[in-house]
Structure formats: structure tokens, C-alpha cells
């Protein structure tokens, strides 16, 4: 246990210590502690891989009385060589004392062997108030690293770097809210440089975290494919008695069908958020009603994520031609490519014809109990693109969101620009997969085709988003 690298995240109150821990520990529950000075006890956040702890992050309360603590230590110390012992003596002397509760809490893990991650806010001006804190940390003699976090919009990091450089050997900048995932890993690697024995476990941790990220990205594709398969194939049914009002039945079924689609989309979002360990995002989303006016069936959604009729026609031709090629192959080429041509024309015509025709109401045969009215499955290829675009946008934002982030999610717009990053072949395969979703979970062939296409779409979407 003593060999496990431990890092005490310390600093002035409310400088983003918890944000750093929240981002690195992927715990969005920590960042909610908005009240400065209310973190009174140290919390340990270990990274465990198959039950084996690779490192521990310790979120500590901020310094409350550093000048008083330093004054006590200076009064007790006789030489620089006794500084670490003096700090230990301070903790022992004041343990259980309300006045120095926070100082004891934050110094205890350090005197127990933890490395120091000293966090400051680079968006506010440097303050000499921090000097007593930094001096105490220097007295501990433990390996240390200073992190300049950026909570606000201003940049005072140059002044901070100059001051921190006098107390800490390593000074790094890290925006806990905006830093991309690779920077998280880079920071963890930096922690490994603090002591010789810490490099190996931190390198392993980085490797595992990267694998975990890849695994989550793959799982995200599966979740999206599963949801899209469900949504495109969903059917609502209603038993109609002889002479029942068809218009009212259509209306009822349409509403039920749309509600079901909305709920399924929400479930997908919830699943994606849980996958990336954003457990509180959904609640924020509900509270702030960030989706007002951005309903799945709104004109805005269709405008933002739908595709042009030209695109549908061109790609639909390709998708239809793929099927026609099979007929040509069966005829050993004797059809002179007519199968592909006819398939292409049918595919293009169907795609353009059904575009925008979301309602699909059908009546079953008349039986003793009346007729069964069915709504769905949808044939409108636009709907698939809208659902897919919204799902990719949400997943992309959630995957890149740090756990220190508190702002609600917002959506961008796309039209069909992201599709330009798909190869023509992948675009055709995607349209085919959207038009022929899996019939059920056991429909392996279509399910795998849809997953493959969405995998390619995810890569294309990320390329488009990253480029903009």
C-alpha cells in the first residue's frame, strides 16, 4: 500500500483542486461542491485496475490559516534540516483542533508520503497570500508540482509561473474544464516524474485509461446503432373497431410513436452519459431544459441534421445499385449491368420520394375484433440522418467533456456537412443500413452492417467537428 503513488491536491480554497480531481478521477460529483471552505475533510480517489490500486488522488480542503501555521512552525524550527519534522510536529500538535483542522487534514497525507500537486487559478492575479502556503509545502520536503488551473477568462499565468517557479521545480498549466483527454494523460505522466518509483505505475495507468477510452468509444457506437435500429424499426399498433374514426386513430398513433421515439433518444443519451461516467449531466439537462425548442421532430432538428434531397438521391442510387449488382452477378453479367442501373434508379427514387414522409399508417385485415392499425416503421431516410446526427453530436460532446464541467450541453448545427467527411462508399453503405435496419437483435447481418456504418460515421463526424 505504501508503494502506491499518492498525490495530495492542495492549494488555496476554491482554486480548482476539486475540478482537477474531478477531471482526473472522472467523477462529476466532486465538481458540484461550489461552496468554498465546505470541503473540510480529505477524500481519496484511487485508480484501481482489477482491484489493484495504481495511484491515489487526495482532494484536500484549502489552506485557511497558513500564516498562523507557518508562524508556529518558524517558532519551533531551529534549522532547515528539521523542517519536515516540524511540519509533522505541527500536525500532531494541532490534530483535533478546530482552528487548524483544514491544515492538518491537508498536511496529513503529505507527511504520510504523498506527492504535492499545488493548484492555483491562473485566471486571477497573483496574490502574495499564497506565499505562506507555498512555504509550508516547501518545508514538507515532498516531491511537488504546481498546476496553473484556469477557472475564468483572464490570463495571469505569466505572473503565477514566475512566483511558482521559486517554490516548485515543475510548473504546468492545465485547464481542468477544457483540457482534452490526451492532456489528462500527459499530466498523469508528469506526476510519474516526481519520484523514481512512480513512473511505472503511472505509465500503466495511462495505458489502461487510454484503452478504457477506446473501449468506451466502441461501446458508444454499439449503443447508437442499437438505438437507431430500435427507432427506425419501431411500430405502434392500435385495435380499431369497425367504423372507428381513422383520423383520430392516426393522430393517437402518431403521438404515441413520436413519444416513444423521444424516450428512446433520451435513453440513448442517458446511456452514453453513463458510459463516460457523466452521472450528473442528465439531471442538469433536465433542470435547465437545454433542449427547449430542439425536439427530435422539430423543423429545427430536421434543418440542423437532415440531408439534402440531392444527397439522398445520389447516395440512394448507389445503395440501390448495390442490390442490383447482385442480380447482375446471378445472371453472370448477361444483364449488361441493367440490374445495377434499375436498382440504382429505384433506390434514388425511393429515397427522394419517402424523404419527409414520416407518417406511415396502415390498416390490417378486418377480423372479428376489428382492424389493427399500425404506425411505422419509418421509411423516411431523413429521419435516420436526423437521429444519427443528433446522436453523434451528443456522443461527441459527452466524450470530450471533462468531469469538472458544470455548464449544460449545447448542440451545434450541421446540415449535411459532416457527411462530406465520409467516403462515397461509406456514405452509400450508411444510407443502405439506415433504410434496412435490423429486424430484431438476432438479425446479425443488418446489425453488423449498421454498426460498421455508424463506426465510420463516428470517425467522419469527429474529423468534421475537430476540423471546425
Amino acid at each position: 500500500m505504501n508503494d502506491v503513488p499518492r498525490f495530495a491536491v492542495v492549494g488555496h480554497p476554491n482554486k480548482g483542486k476539486s475540478s482537477i480531481v474531478a477531471t482526473l478521477a472522472q467523477n462529476d460529483g466532486i465538481a458540484i461542491a461550489l461552496e468554498p471552505g465546505t470541503t473540510r475533510n480529505s477524500d481519496v480517489y484511487p485508480l484501481r485496475v482489477d482491484g489493484v490500486t495504481l495511484y491515489e488522488l487526495i482532494d484536500t480542503p484549502g489552506f485557511q490559516r497558513p500564516r498562523q501555521a507557518l508562524a508556529w512552525m518558524q517558532a519551533q524550527s531551529r534549522a532547515a534540516s528539521d523542517h519536515p519534522d516540524t511540519v509533522r510536529a505541527f500536525v500532531l500538535q494541532h490534530a483535533g483542533e478546530a482552528r487548524f483542522h483544514d491544515e492538518c487534514e491537508l498536511l496529513q497525507p503529505i507527511i504520510d508520503g504523498a506527492g504535492i500537486l499545488y493548484v492555483v487559478d491562473g485566471s486571477v492575479p497573483y496574490s502574495s497570500e499564497n506565499e505562506a502556503e507555498m512555504e509550508i509545502l516547501r518545508w514538507t520536503g515532498r516531491p511537488s508540482l504546481a498546476l496553473i488551473n484556469h477557472i475564468g477568462d483572464h490570463d495571469h499565468s505569466a505572473a503565477w509561473e514566475a512566483a511558482l517557479g521559486q517554490y516548485f521545480r515543475i510548473v504546468r498549466q492545465f485547464n481542468a474544464v477544457q483540457a482534452p483527454f490526451e492532456e489528462h494523460l500527459g499530466l498523469l505522466r508528469g506526476f510519474g516524474e516526481l519520484a523514481p518509483g512512480w513512473r511505472e505505475p503511472l505509465e500503466r495507468a495511462v495505458r489502461y485509461l487510454r484503452e478504457q477510452r477506446d473501449q468506451r468509444d466502441r461501446a458508444s457506437v454499439t449503443l447508437i446503432a442499437s438505438a437507431i435500429g430500435d427507432m427506425l424499426g419501431h411500430v405502434e399498433t392500435l385495435s380499431l373497431r369497425e367504423g372507428a374514426d381513422r383520423t383520430a386513430a392516426t393522430q393517437t398513433l402518431r403521438e404515441r410513436w413520436r413519444d416513444w421515439q423521444r424516450q428512446r433518444e433520451q435513453r440513448l443519451r442517458h446511456d452514453i452519459e453513463k458510459l463516460y461516467q457523466h452521472n450528473r449531466l442528465h439531471r442538469l439537462e433536465m433542470e435547465l431544459a437545454w433542449e427547449a425548442g430542439d425536439d427530435l421532430f422539430s423543423e429545427r432538428a430536421r434543418h440542423a441534421w437532415g440531408v439534402s434531397r440531392t444527397y439522398l438521391g445520389v447516395v440512394g442510387f448507389g445503395a440501390g445499385a448495390l442490390g442490383g449488382v447482385g442480380i447482375d452477378a446471378l445472371a453472370v453479367g448477361h444483364t449488361l449491368g441493367a440490374g445495377a442501373l434499375i436498382g440504382g434508379i429505384l433506390g434514388a427514387t425511393g429515397s427522394v420520394y419517402y424523404a419527409g414522409k414520416l407518417d406511415r399508417f396502415r390498416l390490417g385485415p378486418l377480423t372479428a375484433g376489428g382492424r389493427q392499425a399500425r404506425f411505422g416503421p419509418v421509411h423516411d431516410p431523413q429521419f435516420g440522418y436526423v437521429v444519427l446526427g443528433r446522436a453523434l453530436e451528443h456522443a461527441w460532446r459527452v466524450a470530450r467533456r471533462n468531469h469538472a464541467g458544470r455548464d449544460p450541453l449545447t448542440f451545434g448545427d450541421s446540415n449535411d456537412r459532416w457527411l462530406q467527411h465520409l467516403t462515397r462508399r461509406d456514405g452509400v453503405a450508411l444510407q443502405k443500413a439506415l433504410l434496412t435496419p435490423p429486424r430484431d437483435v438476432a438479425d446479425t447481418r443488418r446489425r453488423m452492417a449498421l454498426e460498421d456504418s455508424i463506426g465510420h460515421a463516428t470517425v467522419a463526424f469527429a474529423a468534421w467537428r475537430d476540423a471546425h
Partner: protein, 457 residues
């Protein structure tokens, strides 16, 4: 069939797991992988199911889910047996007036062979014209089978083929038994007849070709040319046989014909249907969406970074609280930790006002001296603080000491926003300061706003 029940159990567990939290599933399966050598391969699936389902895993469950299919199989076997016996009785019906037509029996046997082959072809193609009928009947008689597991729907074709071949086999065996019993207990007179202009040698060639599978080792079951010539009859004409004993010899050929063209193909195609079902089950087990996910969960390490165990709480909402009143101008302004500008005392409080500095890099003794100076000046005191920094214990101590030293003069804490012009921070950033003052519980200590212009005494 062990693999089929394994597939059904796995599929059912997969559907249950879809409701579970992914993190829980990963932790569970990775633990099983490391402790029980389960890696998600087919060989380890039974162990995985035993470990996951525990005592809930009942081998009889799979049988229950296949109950509809089993009933159907029994129905086909019983129905096939009855129909087979009835068919053979019909074929062998002999009223003494005319002979039993061997041509008809050959036709029925070949028809059976054709049906058996068609059943197999249909199963391989996956065409299920009877699907709707089965579904509606199943829904009526066995409501729980109206919507079977999706994975079972993909096995419907080979399952149906197996049932159909079983029924066909029962038909053939029952018919053969009836044939043999009729041969024993009755005096059957066979003959052959056809409207076509077939000669006896041609018919002999036909029977000879049909008897190819057994003619080498059972020549007595191959009709001779003499038998064929003598057993031909016409509907109109003499019906009395010249050699009645000869006509019964046909039974050996018919029994072997039935055995080789009805029963043996059915046995072989039933075995093929079973093999096809086993192959489909293995294929479904291999490509089942749950398999890849399980393998990934078993082979990738379980990483726990403490996510989901957050302890944070939201602070109370202060947005409705009124803005603090402007500070009452006095003669002392204390800048805590370099907050504000040294010229503010003169600007707000007049030329005679005193600007003092405490906190920050100042020593504790210097703080004490500041309070002494403030006491000497008298009147309300303004303490400027950096509003973007949270209030610390040292500031609390300073205000508490100030309260003791300054009798009951108003102490007005003025946290500044970082931006210019000078102002208080916005409500969310000011809220911690309000609560800080509340926690201090010191009399006559308040949060104050920027003093009004011209407020200096």
C-alpha cells in the same frame, strides 16, 4: 440439445443484462474472468451462466421455452404415424376385384422423397410460408409463445425442418409396419397398370433402376421380367390371374422401395436438419451481440476511478437576496491581502482617511498593529477583500479580533469583483461571503456595497 439451451439461456441473460448498468456488468464479468478463468469463449459460456445466474439457472427453462416446438413435434409424429398407416391401408386396399397397383405405390414413395427434399431446401433457404399460421396458432394456444425470443425466430426454419422430417419419418415407418402386417395377415395381389403405352420390359427397367440400392445384396426383392410381364393388368379385361401366387412376390420390392425411398432419406434428412440446427445454434452463439460485449468485458481490465461516488452538494440558492446597502463612510479602510487600490481610502472616505494593509504577505504582528491604528481613528471600518478569492479562516480571525478591539463600531466587509469599474461580485460569487458573515456570528459585521459618491464626511 445442450448448445440450444445454452444459446437460449445466454440470450435471456443478455436481454436481462441490457437493463443493467454497464459499469456493474464490466466489474462483474471481469471479476469472473480473473477468478474463474472465464474469457467469453463458447467453452466458458456455461460456467459464466452458472456464475451469473447461480441457483436461478434451471436446465428445464430452455425446454419450457421450446414447449411450443415440442408440442408441434409430438403432433407431427403422431399425425404422421396415423396418416402413414392410413395411407398404406388405402394403398393396400384390396377388394378382390382388382390388384393393388404397384405404380401408385412407387408414385407415393417418390412423392414422399420429393417432399422430404423440398423441406430440406426450404429450411436452407429460410423460407417460412407457415410462419404466420404458426404465430397466430401459437398466440391462441400458447400465448407466451406468440412473441418468442428473437433468437428463436432465427432458428425457426431448421426447427421446423426437424419437425417436418420427424413427422415424415413417422409417416414412413408407420406405413412400412402396416405394409408388413398386411402382407402377413392378408393375401395381397399386386400388379401394375398404367394408361401410358409402357411395355413390360420398360417397366422392368424402371423397377430395376429403382431397386439399384439393394439389388446387389437382396436380389429376391428385385422383380424379374417374368413377374413384370405376368402381373400387368388392365382395368377392362380379365381380372383373374393365371398364377395368383406370383403376384404376392411384389411385396419384397415394395417394402425395400419404401425403406430406401421414404424412410432412409427421411432419416438422413432428419440428421441433416439436426446438423443444420446445431450449426445455426453455433453460428448464433458466435455472432450473438452479447458475445462480443461479454468477451470485451472479460478481457479488458476493470478500471475504477471512483466515478459516481461524488460527495458534492449544491449550495443554497441566494439569487433572490437583495443587494447589500452602500458602506457607511468612516475614516479607516483596511485592504485585506492587497485588495483594491491604496488610493481608494482617499477617493471614498476623504483626504483624512487612513488606508491600512493586512493579510497577504503581512505578518500577524502587522495585522495586530493595523487594528490598533483603526481603533485609534474610531468610526466605521471598511475591510476590502478580493471577492473572487473565497474568505479564509485568517480573514475570519482578523474580523473576530477587530470586533473585540473596535468595540461596537460597524465593520463593513466589501468584497470586490476583479473587473473595473469597482463593484461587488455577481450574486453567485457574493453568496459565499454572505454565508461567511453568517457563520462568524459577530455583531455589527455586515457585507457592504461601494459607498455612494460624495459620501465622505
Amino acid at each position: 440439445m445442450r448448445n440450444l439451451s445454452l444459446l437460449l439461456d445466454f440470450d435471456e441473460q443478455y436481454r436481462r443484462d441490457r437493463q443493467q448498468d454497464r459499469r456493474f456488468l464490466h466489474r462483474r464479468d471481469r471479476h469472473l474472468a480473473t477468478s474463474q478463468d472465464i474469457d467469453g469463449s463458447r467453452g466458458s459460456l456455461a460456467n459464466w451462466l452458472d456464475a451469473v445466474c447461480g441457483h436461478d439457472r434451471d436446465p428445464a427453462r430452455a425446454g419450457e421455452r421450446l414447449r411450443g416446438w415440442r408440442w408441434m413435434r409430438v403432433l407431427f409424429v403422431v399425425g404422421g404415424s396415423v396418416l402413414g398407416a392410413a395411407t398404406m391401408l388405402g394403398l393396400l386396399y384390396y377388394d378382390g376385384g382388382r390388384r393393388i397397383n404397384v405404380t401408385l405405390i412407387i408414385g407415393v414413395a417418390l412423392l414422399q422423397l420429393l417432399l422430404a427434399l423440398l423441406t430440406t431446401a426450404q429450411a436452407w433457404i429460410g423460407w417460412q410460408p407457415w410462419h404466420g399460421v404458426f404465430r397466430s396458432l401459437g398466440g391462441r394456444w400458447l400465448p407466451e409463445h406468440a412473441e418468442p425470443q428473437p433468437v428463436l425466430r432465427t432458428l425457426a426454419a431448421p426447427l421446423a425442418a426437424r419437425i417436418a422430417q420427424s413427422g415424415g419419418l413417422a409417416f414412413g415407418i408407420a406405413a412400412l409396419i402396416v405394409l408388413l402386417s398386411q402382407v402377413v395377415i392378408h393375401d395381397l395381389a399386386f400388379g401394375w397398370s398404367t394408361t401410358l403405352q409402357a411395355s413390360a420390359p420398360a417397366y422392368h427397367d424402371l423397377t430395376n433402376a429403382l431397386a439399384r440400392p439393394w439389388r446387389g445384396w437382396m436380389p429376391s426383392a428385385v422383380p424379374s421380367l417374368a413377374l413384370v410381364e405376368q402381373s400387368r393388368y388392365f382395368r377392362v379385361g380379365a381380372t383373374v390371374a393365371t398364377n395368383p401366387e406370383l403376384l404376392g412376390i411384389w411385396w419384397r420390392f415394395i417394402a425395400m422401395l419404401w425403406l430406401f425411398y421414404v424412410i432412409v432419406p427421411r432419416v438422413m434428412l432428419l440428421a441433416l436438419a439436426r446438423a443444420q440446427l446445431a450449426w445455426r445454434v453455433r453460428q448464433q452463439l458466435a455472432v450473438h451481440p452479447g458475445r462480443a460485449a461479454l468477451r470485451e468485458r472479460c478481457t479488458t481490465p476493470w478500471i475504477d476511478s471512483g466515478g459516481g461516488s461524488g460527495t458534492g452538494t449544491l449550495p443554497p440558492d441566494d439569487s433572490g437576496t437583495l443587494a447589500p446597502a452602500p458602506a457607511t463612510p468612516g475614516r479607516v479602510l483596511i485592504r485585506w491581502a492587497d485588495a483594491g487600490d491604496p488610493g481608494l481610502a482617499r477617493q471614498w472616505l476623504g483626504a483624512a482617511a487612513l488606508s491600512l494593509e493586512a493579510g497577504g504577505s503581512a505578518s500577524l504582528d502587522a495585522d495586530g498593529a493595523v487594528l490598533e491604528q483603526a481603533r485609534a481613528m474610531g468610526g466605521p471600518v471598511i475591510i476590502l477583500a478580493r471577492g473572487w478569492e473565497p474568505p479564509t479562516g485568517e480573514l475570519a480571525d482578523f474580523i473576530t479580533h477587530a470586533r473585540r478591539r473596535l468595540d461596537l463600531v460597524p465593520i463593513q466587509l466589501l468584497p470586490l469583483a476583479p473587473e473595473l469599474p469597482l463593484m461587488l461580485p455577481a450574486a453567485p460569487a457574493l453568496a459565499p461571503w454572505r454565508r461567511f458573515i453568517e457563520r462568524l456570528q459577530q455583531p455589527n459585521v455586515v457585507i457592504a456595497n461601494i459607498p455612494n459618491e460624495g459620501g465622505a464626511p
